[in-house]
Symmetry: D2
Subunit: 168 residues, 4 copies
């Protein structure tokens, strides 16, 4: 479909240290749980109320996974830009189940640390994405804020991620 947009923007806090798994062919996948919350004052009682929403974020991009692995800890405040994706799976009873996740994978996906933790000596913006690979040519301090690399090394992660049916 021409003219389609699927974008999620979150600013929230990481609920637990991220898990990093690997596909059979060695590519990393990071899983994050991020909380966003709203507070408001109840019209009747005047009490302050809060509602927290938990989001599952899945990072397929190799460069962003490195950032997650090195810098993102429980409690970190992140800016996330990704896409909504619902995947189907079977539970133990063989029933179809669906899980919706915020996926950071291809073009336009970003993860930025907002609380300045873990910065190993240098700031980095998305501009660092200008090279073929955000991190491979980065011999100095790694980048705590970054965008996915594309077209690096043996081909784009993006198209392969869509082609393969990665078991996750």
């Amino acid at each position: 479909m021409a003219g389609s947009v699927n974008k999620v923007i979150l600013i929230g806090n990481v609920g637990a240290d991220p898990e990093i798994r690997r596909t059979q062919d060695g590519r990393p996948i990071a899983n994050l749980r991020i909380a966003t919350s709203e507070t408001w004052r109840d019209r009747n009682s005047g009490e302050r109320r809060e509602k927290t929403e938990w989001h599952t974020v899945v990072v397929f991009n190799e460069g962003l996974c490195k950032v997650v692995e090195q810098y993102v800890k429980k409690g970190a405040k992140l800016y996330i830009e990704g896409q909504l994706q619902t995947r189907k799976w079977q539970d133990q009873q063989g029933q179809d189940r669906y899980s919706t996740e915020v996926v950071l994978q291809g073009f336009g996906s970003t993860l930025t640390m907002l609380d300045g933790r873990g910065e190993g000596g240098g700031a980095s913006g998305r501009g660092s994405a200008g090279g073929g690979n955000d991190y491979g040519d980065d011999y100095g301090a790694p980048a705590p804020s970054s965008s996915p690399s594309r077209g690096g090394g043996g081909g784009s992660n993006f198209s392969r991620d869509l082609d393969d049916d990665i078991p996750f």
Copy 2:
């Protein structure tokens, strides 16, 4: 949590005529299924490939529900701005299940028709939201593009929606 953002932006097509239900106290809730899709060219085969993602959109705002009811039909192209929300429910076996939806409810939620269908004589932007109610003071043709009303009549839909545990 101060400093939290939970935002979803979609541009896609409606998969079926919307369903409008009502809560016990008469407020409307509209359900939409929206498809977004990406196409790309496979690196190896050179073939064009496509992946469609389906999103469930739930509209709690009364004014937006009217717009949905009157103008949104199967096939319509929409711009949606809402929030991610996951709700828990029990299946027939009594097991916990979770569904993630794009909710249009409070501040910042928008729904805009992008294909010009169904426009009953007048355009309307989000500026129409300046009044106490987007539609109540709209003596002419209703607005196919709009933002939620707030503070109208007997209280904010928003806080009541969050307070009540609406069975949907």
Copy 3:
């Protein structure tokens, strides 16, 4: 025009303490300068490079102006959601000049503090916008994160701001 979107999202740091002015009829207007920056590694030299962009942000909303006045100081990190607006003015030679600003005024505009400074005892999200006025019914600590109020008191700021030709 039906189907129009004009949205700016910034995360950056405030360059100087904000200025608050007032219109003839007493409504506040806050001006902020916000810096965003990108860093990247030069492909040839391998050096890290940085480019900073400065944005002028104008806050018309009364509630958001209070937040700015009380909490936003030089150096604060903010999340801003507003609209692009270009206004025409005459310089001293009588020549037409144009200035483009990020305006926080009506529906969908937000300002959120991301560094936790200035929080006077309670967090507040956009949910607080559910009432007729975000701050007037806020008997406790004011909210450092908020969305514009609408429809409060003597009418909507939004429509009046658009109707009036405020000299700013």
Copy 4:
């Protein structure tokens, strides 16, 4: 600055056929004027009012420039995702002037046609950006919806665009 975001999202109509210029070294730059507008009903008079905002959009990305050149005509409805950028220039009196533009250049920039005009036989989403070049490997119908290519041919446009001081 770690943790910086500079994003503009527009949906609007193109006011005139785009202009395409070239830098000394042959790279294309497209200029677009895009109108967004809001309509609302005046609180007092009840009249419908409209305000149109004009945006200058500058496309540096080579692939997106091709799309603009081939498909974007006066009147087209576009979705644009870019960055705010203010550049300084001197007028004929030697005075400093500033122009703020929405720049489509590097990571995260997108241009999508929303009205289906000009589509030469095949849809293309941002997924097409998975390859080294969005258009170079596209021997079939060109893509009316696309994302910038990166890392194609003799280096990233992005870093060179930032390095060079392109006279535009």
